[in-house]
């Protein structure tokens, strides 16, 4: 089986069977990461350009590592060192890069729809590594992979996403993916950060963290952007921690196991306390490892998924 699209622009509209295929493929590929020589020649001769118009460390490293593990040639482009500063349009930038003959573009951009726009003007496969507050599909895939590893299921799993939902692409991709996989999804956060009519996405809104925690199997905590503090959306980080911070005290009051996730980077002492982040409830570092496996799976499947995973050591 293969993916229907040449691109991965988002999880909205991606079929359950396709998400299962990516997650299963990622589980298979994860083993490569633990080999003495963690590299397969699957994408040898393919060129991937990582176009990061927004600062990113972990997502870019994760993609780069996935590309190297599959033996692709990868190039990095970041806005700070690029022609963007000279006023070149996105279309011109990317058409120039494509004219150098490349196979994949991984793009992160602050503008919603930038990957979709690119997909409409170039021939290479486009992978969305985050577009504004819209989608971040590989993050949601690695989140789902981690949830499935830890709880054994996605169907009927109760997942609550906590934080600034309005500005979060992680939240939107998680909602799409989890709903497709049959999970029950909720969101929780300050009313100023819950976008209008979000119930229309088929989810529950929890105004209070205690109620969310009482219901949830999994809490996926979003990073609170420090620069939002003191603006109209949020009076202070202190207030956020008081109302929505996940503390050991709140966890113990629930009296049962909860899986704690976070896409990083953490604001320890704001959305998550240190003793929670480092507790056995937390799967935050598993998410990071799974991120590489999921991105390998996506690249592999978008390349056609036919090339033999040489050196497969099963059986």
């Amino acid at each position: 089986m293969q993916l229907k699209s040449r691109h991965l622009l988002g999880l909205e509209g991606v079929a359950k069977s396709e998400i299962e295929l990516i997650l299963d493929t990622a589980s298979g590929l994860k083993e490569i990461l633990d080999r003495p020589i963690p590299k397969v020649p699957t994408l040898r001769g393919k060129t991937v350009v990582n176009l990061f118009f927004e600062p990113s460390t972990r997502t870019r490293f994760s993609f780069e590592l996935a590309e190297k593990r599959l033996s692709a040639d990868s190039m990095n482009f970041s806005a700070a060192s690029s022609s963007v500063l000279k006023g070149e349009s996105l279309r011109d930038t990317v058409q120039n890069i494509e004219a150098m003959r490349i196979n994949f573009v991984v793009i992160r951009h602050s503008a919603v729809g930038a990957p979709h726009f690119l997909a409409s003007c170039i021939d290479a496969s486009v992978i969305n590594a985050g577009d504004g507050a819209h989608e971040h599909p590989t993050q949601a895939l690695l989140d789902m992979m981690t949830m499935k590893e830890r709880t054994g299921r996605l169907k009927d799993l109760k997942v609550v996403i906590v934080g600034d939902i309005e500005h979060s692409r992680v939240a939107r991709s998680n909602i799409h993916g989890l709903r497709t996989m049959g999970a029950q999804v909720g969101v929780c956060g300050p009313a100023t950060m819950i976008p209008r009519n979000i119930e229309d996405m088929g989810i529950t809104v929890y105004p209070h963290i205690e109620d969310a925690m009482a219901e949830a199997d999994v809490l996926n905590l979003l990073r609170i952007q420090l620069e939002r503090q003191g603006r109209e959306l949020l009076p202070s980080l202190r207030e956020y921690r008081n109302l929505f911070g996940v503390t050991l005290e709140r966890l113990e009051r629930i009296g049962r196991d909860l899986v704690i996730m976070h896409p990083g980077p953490l604001n320890r002492g704001v959305e998550i306390d240190s003793d929670v982040a480092d507790s056995e409830f937390s799967v935050i570092l598993n998410q990071v490892t799974n991120g590489v496996a999921v991105r390998m799976a996506v690249l592999y499947l978008l390349a056609g998924g036919k090339a033999k995973l040489e050196g497969e050591s099963h059986g």
Binding site: H116, P195, R196, I198
Partner: protein
């Protein structure tokens, strides 16, 4: 009789429009008759024999002849942005769309805030078939500080005042603008938007913006300033005209105000009647304009507002932009779409004949009421009157092809749409433009 639109326009010597349906909602005229136009005057209305008629004959059987349509909200971009549109190319687009007159907004560079700018536009438009009526700025340089010399501007030919592109900056200023404009009988046209509330939003706030994560503009951004303006019009006696109404809330505010006798009129645009924020899901930057495409419920309220007379006018808010300003990320794209060449076709296809909106109501909102609001002379269909006419074929089927537009710009979201009905010819100032030559 020169027209810088070249060979598209021909002088009328003597022309028989044979067997058309003459429709003039201003006088209640609605009958099939012949009409003879001699130079710039309607010579005869009645029965005219074709045999032996000295002049040209245009068969108008099945066609509608109405007062020349006027689009009271367009951006001609000259002076300053001639790479988007000029007065000449904008007037070509107007003719092709069935309009004999347009009102051009003052957000040019420099803006139309003094007599010389009004005279420049009038001079550039002189001799064109299409009448160009300048709207002058409310405030000097559109800065929201000092009122313009409205008396001098009216004397030079301005027909209304607007800081369009932005709202009249403050309530205090709007109060003075309405008081001052009331001396001349020409309206203040406001672009109702609370700029802080809109922030850097690019689409309507609702389920679709939540789904897409695009920054959003709530309907209350429009409603709050409309409410402000209505209260000020009520206090001062107007005259207020609300531009490009897009929200159900503003329709309700205007309806209530009219019921109280507040001197307020309003317009909406074809795109709000045929598209919604669902269309933004394609990320087509030609779905981006201000106010933004709203929800289905807002659209239904606009249609009701047109039916019950709350909304007086249909205008296009024709806003030309360069290709590179639209061929970009949605956030970065310019606001606005062109509309002169699709306005009538969209309305005839999607509004006419439904919702109690007969052709007479459409002609009223696209020809009669705008002239009344602006204090322009009527254009009656009667013997001895100036011939200022649009000939509509209500049944012709055609497909929008933006590459064939006479406008200089191409930022139109309706490319490829199948429409029914369009203008066949426009006649004004002793000239005729007939679409048959170019189509």
């Amino acid at each position: 009789m020169g027209d810088r639109t070249g060979t598209l326009v021909k002088p009328v010597d003597r022309l028989l429009l044979r067997g058309g349906r003459l429709l003039d909602p201003a006088s209640g005229l609605d009958r099939v008759a012949d009409m003879v136009v001699k130079k710039d005057v309607i010579e005869t209305v009645g029965t005219v024999k074709s045999e032996g008629f000295k002049g040209k004959v245009m068969d108008c059987a099945g066609k509608v002849i109405c007062p020349g349509l006027i689009d009271m909200h367009v951006h001609l971009r000259e002076p300053g942005f001639e790479d988007r549109e000029t007065i000449v190319t904008g007037c070509r687009a107007a003719m092709a769309g069935g309009f004999t007159a347009v009102c051009c907004m003052p957000n040019t560079h420099p803006p139309v805030d003094n007599r010389a700018q009004v005279e420049f536009i009038r001079e550039r438009a002189g001799g064109l078939l299409v009448d160009v009526h300048p709207v002058a700025a409310v405030t000097v340089a559109r800065k929201g500080e000092m009122l313009t010399e409205m008396g001098d501007l009216v004397d030079a030919g301005a027909v209304a005042f607007s800081d369009d592109g932005a709202p009249v900056a403050t309530a205090a200023l709007m109060r003075r603008a309405l008081e001052y404009a009331s001396m001349f009988g020409h309206p203040v046209i406001d672009h109702c938007e609370d700029l802080q509330m809109s922030g850097d939003g690019v689409m309507n706030e609702g389920s679709v913006s939540t789904l897409l994560g695009l920054k959003s503009i709530p309907t209350i951004s429009e409603d709050i300033i409309a409410a402000r303006d209505i209260l000020i019009a009520e206090y001062t006696g107007g005259p207020l005209h609300i531009a490009h109404v897009s929200s159900a809330g503003t329709v309700r505010l205007i309806r209530d105000a009219k019921a109280r006798g507040v001197p307020v009129t309003a317009e909406t645009c074809p795109h709000y009647l045929v598209m919604t924020d669902e269309d933004v899901r394609t990320f087509d930057t030609n779905t981006k304009m201000k106010p933004p495409l709203r929800s289905r419920a807002d659209q239904e309220a606009l249609v009701t507002g047109l039916q019950d007379g709350t909304i007086d006018v249909i205008a296009s808010d024709h806003a030309p932009h360069r290709i590179q300003d639209k061929q970009t990320e949605y956030d970065a794209a310019a606001f606005g779409i062109i509309g002169l060449e699709t306005s009538l076709g969209l309305i005839l296809t999607h509004l006419a004949g439904k919702n109690n909106m007969g052709l007479d109501r459409i002609v009223e909102k696209m020809a009669v009421l705008p002239r009344k609001i602006l204090g322009l002379p009527e254009t009656p269909l009667k013997e001895g009157a100036k011939a200022n006419l649009t000939v509509i074929d209500p049944d012709i089927k055609w497909t929008v092809d933006r590459d064939s537009f006479l406008s200089k710009s191409r930022n139109c979201p309706f490319n490829g749409w199948a429409l029914t009905g369009r203008s066949m010819a426009v006649i004004n100032k002793g000239m005729i433009f007939s679409g048959s030559k170019i189509r």
